[in-house]
């Protein structure tokens, strides 16, 4: 561990835009600290943007948490002397003096990130000790199971879940009650309930969170489902990359057995139920329900055609219900608090809450649970704290690799299954990746397609070959070799893969391409017609030029260019030689007057 007693955090929002400017303040502060002999006890670090641009540069002193704003290099000496040597606050630069409201939150619950949330699925997460069944019980755990087994018939349970209008949180949003009803209706000596904890969406981690932080809620829900369907055996299919979750589930199952909450004759009702864990090897497609069942049965994880649906012929051809972790986490509260309580939350056709994993260009990265119908803007700006570095919002990608990109004009759309689908995206498992103005949408489409292409199981021809062909076309476009005919072929191929693929992986793989084509068509055209990447991301299309009106001939860029592609005399306008340029972007970063143009 470090020996530093204090840390001065310098934030001037210049981490990638103009490294030179900030280095000054950090450098000057370091020099001043050295001067007063504190170099060994005070650490000075330069940090990424905190999104308080108008108050920057900021210097925050830890651990005392005093915030100074609009600090200039010339203030450094005074700041070090006053704050570090004399242990007084330098009122003049104090953030409060500049109108910044600073505070220390005694409890994390009060910050906007949490206060805007509404937690049903995550109700116990971070509150109870997941390894102690008593704590789960203390928060009404297993009361729902008790109620179901002692007061209700299976049909009543199904009716209640139907009444709640809960829809599956694993992606497709199929009504959970209906799914249970279909399986309950089947005559069969054996039925199964499977909890889908494969969570393959890159960036999503809500299921892991629930399993690690509240495993009993899933066990209880599965037992309830088992009773409703007439299944005595459940399986949790969880990816092997989640060792903590697996461990907690194992422990949870053992504890539940110890307390007679799993096993024979639970609550003396005559209902017996047990749960086994099956580890998934981590292929994305194994989250698809039929592939998942093949995997449990010991076959290669590849989807089967549907119909037959699992509810009629699932695991070992027996009627089977597969539900997502988050779906199940909602079950006990619905049983205890009632279907109408649950259906009072949310929108017309999407009830309850949804957990989102916020990521990308957003200030508060993390998991949030909000009522259906919350707008994208509320989630991204109020809870997520907006876009770092004061950049403009460009799009939000929802639904992971199966979803699409939603542009700024739709930020006020209330989030639910149908609205997202209408916008050409989907709810998916709840990934939400925010993109700022520096994102190239063709590149984004390419990124997602690369993922699906790699994850295609290889069974059906459109997905196996088609996703690669799409990727090849996108590659061509981002390298500046695309034509308008390629765009036609890309769109046509996308539409055909959607309808022809065997499973939803292939059927949804084109969504990121089609949605970006829909909303950012101009960007595609710019790539193929003007051979230009407007966001300056696609390396082969970026051209660096120097604006002669701004260039002051300082020569910094020429010095930083690794291949000597910039020439010019001191105090005269410099020129970048495009054929030599390797598009590293150094020049644009070092120029103090923003004279280097990227585009």
């Amino acid at each position: 561990m470090s020996n530093f007693e204090k840390r001065l955090v310098v934030c001037d929002g210049t981490d990638c835009d103009a490294p030179n400017a900030e280095k000054n303040l950090v450098r000057v502060l370091r020099r001043e600290v050295m001067k007063v002999g504190l170099a060994d006890t005070v650490e000075i670090v330069h940090v990424g943007c905190l999104s308080l641009c108008e108050f920057e540069p900021l210097v925050i002193s830890y651990p005392d948490g005093v915030v100074y704003s609009r600090v200039k290099a010339t203030d450094a000496g005074e700041l070090v002397r006053t704050h570090l040597v004399e242990h007084r606050t330098l009122e003049r630069l104090l953030a409060q003096t500049n109108g910044l409201r600073t505070e220390q939150a005694s409890s994390i619950d009060h910050i906007p990130f949490f206060s805007h949330q509404f937690r049903i699925a995550l109700r116990n997460c971070g509150i109870i000790d997941p390894e102690k069944i008593q704590e789960y019980i203390a928060r009404d755990g297993y009361q729902a199971l008790a109620k179901v087994l002692t007061e209700m018939t299976p049909a009543e349970v199904v009716a209640k879940i139907k009444g709640s209008e809960l829809r599956g949180r694993g992606g497709a949003g199929f009504p959970t009650g209906l799914k249970w009803e279909l399986a309950a209706r089947e005559e069969s000596s054996q039925k199964f309930i499977i909890c889908n904890a494969d969570e393959g969406d890159p960036g999503a981690f809500m299921d892991r969170s629930v399993l690690e932080s509240d495993p009993h809620s899933i066990l209880e829900a599965m037992a309830i489902a088992g009773f409703a369907l007439g299944a005595s055996q459940g399986f949790i299919y969880v990816r092997a990359e989640y060792p903590v979750a697996v461990e907690r589930l194992r422990l949870g199952i053992a504890q539940a057995h110890e307390y007679d909450l799993l096993g024979e004759n639970i609550f003396g009702s005559g209902f017996s139920f047990d749960i086994d864990i099956r580890l998934g090897a981590g292929a994305f497609v194994c989250g698809e329900e039929t592939a998942l069942m093949n995997s449990i049965e010991g076959r290669r994880g590849m989807p089967n055609p549907k119909p037959p649906f699992p509810a009629t012929s699932g695991l070992w051809q027996k009627p089977t219900v597969i539900n997502n972790v988050e779906t199940l986490a909602n079950i006990p509260p619905i049983i205890l608090r009632g279907a109408s309580w649950f259906s009072s939350i949310g929108t017309e056709r999407s009830k309850g809450t949804k957990v989102f994993a916020l990521g990308g260009k957003i200030n508060n990265v993390g998991l949030v649970e909000v009522p259906m119908g919350t707008t994208l803007r509320q989630v991204i700006f109020d809870i997520g704290g907006g876009i770092p570095k004061g950049k403009a919002f460009k799009a939000v990608q929802t639904g992971g690799p199966s979803g699409g990109c939603i542009p700024a004009q739709h930020l006020d759309v209330p989030i639910d299954y149908d609205s997202l689908t209408q916008l050409g995206s989907m709810m998916g498992s709840g990934g939400m990746i925010v993109m700022d103005e520096n994102t190239c949408m063709v590149d984004v489409a390419r990124f997602y397609l690369e993922f699906t292409k790699d994850e295609s199981c290889g069974k059906c021809s459109p997905c196996r070959i088609g996703t690669l062909r799409m990727l090849e076309i996108l590659d061509k476009i981002t390298r500046g070799k695309g034509s308008m005919e390629d765009l036609d072929n890309l769109r046509d191929l996308s539409e055909q893969i959607q309808v022809a693929s065997l499973c939803a992986l292939g059927q949804t793989a084109p969504n990121p391409v089609l949605s970006t084509m829909q909303y950012f068509w101009d960007e595609y055209v710019a790539h193929v017609v003007e051979k230009r990447c407007p966001a300056g991301v696609c390396k082969s299309l970026v051209r660096y030029t120097i604006n002669p009106d701004l260039c002051r001939g300082c020569g910094l860029c020429a010095r930083e260019c690794p291949v000597g592609a910039i020439s010019g005399e001191l105090k005269h306008v410099h020129v970048i030689h495009d054929d030599a340029c390797i598009r590293c972007g150094n020049c644009a970063e070092v120029c103090n007057v923003d004279a280097v143009l990227r585009g």
């Binding site: 561990m1 934030c11 981490d15 670090v45 330069h46 940090v47 990424g48 905190l50 308080l52 108050f55 651990p63 948490g65 953030a95 910044l100 409201r101 600073t102 220390q104 939150a105 005694s106 409890s107 994390i108 619950d109 910050i111 990130f113 949490f114 995550l122 997460c125 971070g126 509150i127 109870i128 000790d129 997941p130 008593q134 704590e135 019980i137 203390a138 755990g141 297993y142 009361q143 892991r208 969170s209 690690e212 932080s213 509240d214 989640y242 903590v244 307390y259 007679d260 909450l261 004759n265 639970i266 609550f267 003396g268 200030n363 508060n364 990265v365 993390g366 998991l367 949030v368 704290g385």
Partner: protein, 130 residues
């Protein structure tokens, strides 16, 4: 056999009292995010320290994820009559001080709590160089 009555009484018995009586409850996040950030080391300091002092009235809770892993390790301290205090980005050293000053001394260590400016979380920073 589990009965409803037994479940209810278990529930009652394990419910967290609104007011702790001379009980300190310390909770750390022990889900993947927390573990990755080093909450195990923080927890070790706590357990070792408490064992040394043979203090029985401190309860250690290993809890799950609250969804803001970038502030991990998080430590919640509940001292009787004072409600919950959340410390963020904890280290074994910081934990040592919280033990001394807060758990046994009764004084909240303001500096380790979450720092906000205009509602934005300041502690959630990424060091670029330093």
């Amino acid at each position: 056999m589990m009965t409803i009555e037994r479940l209810r009484s278990l529930s009652e018995a394990n419910r967290q009292p609104e007011e702790f009586e001379a009980v300190v409850r310390v909770a750390t996040c022990m889900a993947t995010g927390g573990i990755a950030a080093g909450s195990a080391a923080v927890l070790d300091v706590l357990t070792n320290e408490l064992r040394e002092r043979q203090h029985v009235k401190v309860e250690i809770v290993r809890k799950g994820c609250i969804g803001m892993c970038r502030l991990d390790p998080l430590v919640d301290v509940f001292v009787s009559g004072q409600g919950k205090v959340t410390y963020v980005k904890m280290t074994p050293e910081k934990m040592q001080r919280v033990i001394e000053e807060h758990i046994f001394g009764g004084h909240v260590v303001d500096e380790y709590m979450l720092h906000l400016a205009n509602g934005l979380i300041l502690d959630d920073y990424v060091v670029l160089e330093g």
